[in-house]
Symmetry: C2
Subunit: 254 residues, 2 copies
């Protein structure tokens, strides 16, 4: 199966896609926008808390394009320390700025110098003597480099969420949608959320974004934890307040 995703090879996006698709033929793109434009029908994009990938980018691109969300994949981000040198010989550590920031304890404990790279994967490609990279285990494997220590980030529970677009149908547990009210007044969002509250539907994500049509005009991106008749009723209610565009009903893969 061919899948378009954010490159380069060996990033956390690649690792998450491998977890979901198993063996697949990757079509690596250099920006999230290019993933959306790719001719490859099935796409894999970060939606939340990604290393260097933009939530807002993905949400805006979902609004503009006719893609269907078919699954959500959650990956726990664990940085491996990758180096040809042993732990005590390392002098410099390279990675994406966010990965460096997420691993400050081990870096300051050893007094390593930091070098920023465009991606975690790139850090592994450019390793010299006495240097280490913080990156995914898949990046070590691809570049045939030894892992000195696994899971060196400061905190647990650093996860990234991804969406599969236009993939195989999955059991439906969640619904993601755009709400475009076309007006702005105090209490409007509160009224729209009454549609979910009244049908006991929990939300797992909400975000307002400028429409770019008119300054101060917003749309809402919402994910709800239901895809059954409670959701159908909620949508009927929401349609009395806003244009409702369902992006997909899907399940979560941890």
């Amino acid at each position: 199966m061919r899948v378009a995703l954010l490159g380069p090879e060996g990033t956390y996006t690649h690792q998450a896609a491998k977890k979901y698709f198993g063996d697949f033929e990757p079509d690596f793109c250099s920006t999230i926008r290019e993933v959306f434009k790719s001719d490859t029908e099935t796409k894999f994009v970060p939606v939340e808390n990604s290393l260097g990938g933009g939530v807002s980018d993905t949400v805006d691109l979902l609004r503009d394009n006719g893609n269907k969300v078919t699954a959500e994949v959650v990956l726990s981000i664990e940085h491996a320390l990758i180096s040809d040198s042993g732990l005590e010989e390392i002098e410099t550590v390279k990675s994406h700025p966010q990965a460096l920031a997420q691993s400050e304890e081990i870096i300051s404990e050893h007094g390593w110098d930091k070098v920023e790279t465009d991606s975690t994967a790139k850090a592994v490609e450019d390793l010299n003597e006495n240097e280490a990279a913080l990156a995914s285990e898949i990046a070590a494997e691809i570049n045939n480099k030894p892992i000195v220590r696994t899971s060196v980030q400061d905190k647990e529970n650093n996860t990234t969420r991804f969406f599969v677009l236009n993939g195989e149908p999955e059991p439906e547990e969640k619904t993601s949608m755009m709400l475009e009210p076309g007006e702005d007044r105090p209490g409007l969002l509160h009224s729209m959320l009454s549609c979910f509250a009244g049908h006991q539907v929990n939300l797992s994500h909400i975000q307002s974004r400028p429409t770019k049509n008119k300054l101060g005009e917003y749309y809402f991106y919402v994910e709800a934890e239901a895809a059954d008749d409670r959701m159908d009723k909620s949508i009927k209610c929401l349609e009395t307040y806003a244009d409702v565009k369902i992006l997909g009903k899907f399940s979560r893969v941890e």
Copy 2:
């Protein structure tokens, strides 16, 4: 006045800061995280729809740090076409991927090749013959390069919002805050928003973000268009549902 902001020199962040501060001494940092860490007290950070800067980064860092939002600056992003060559001699156009994507009409009209750079400012620094950059007018000025055409982006109303942190007090018109409910149940957000609706307070931004303490636990980042006694009453009401952390009361500078 010394101000920490995202570098390099000549980006839209730099242009927006110049608009607000006039003459100032810039402390350029290479990531938003470093801006927050800088010893320079007054900081200038993008919060929405920035070229390559992350909304989520800023929101998460505002949650973790004791900074006070003192002003909001809105900049309309207009890309200038910058080149030593004339319009008809240009063969290649360089810029940040998002600036290239926002100027597709002029690029495809002329059939220019595209080259991606890390920032719009960097594109201007690396110009060769028959090449043009898409960047801010300030970048052209700094690099002493001619502007071939101003405002070449496809759409109007492409704006970026910035926050001034720990700056001079301004008239108070808006309030930004974090709401941390510490629990998750259907209808909770709806109940919290009743505090704003009941006091006729309009929201201009809302976003849920994972707390990173526990999977599935969220906090809300909210901006409201009031800073008067209606806001005081709304906060009193909100405190019955969540921990409320006021990040600042401020005015908008267009």
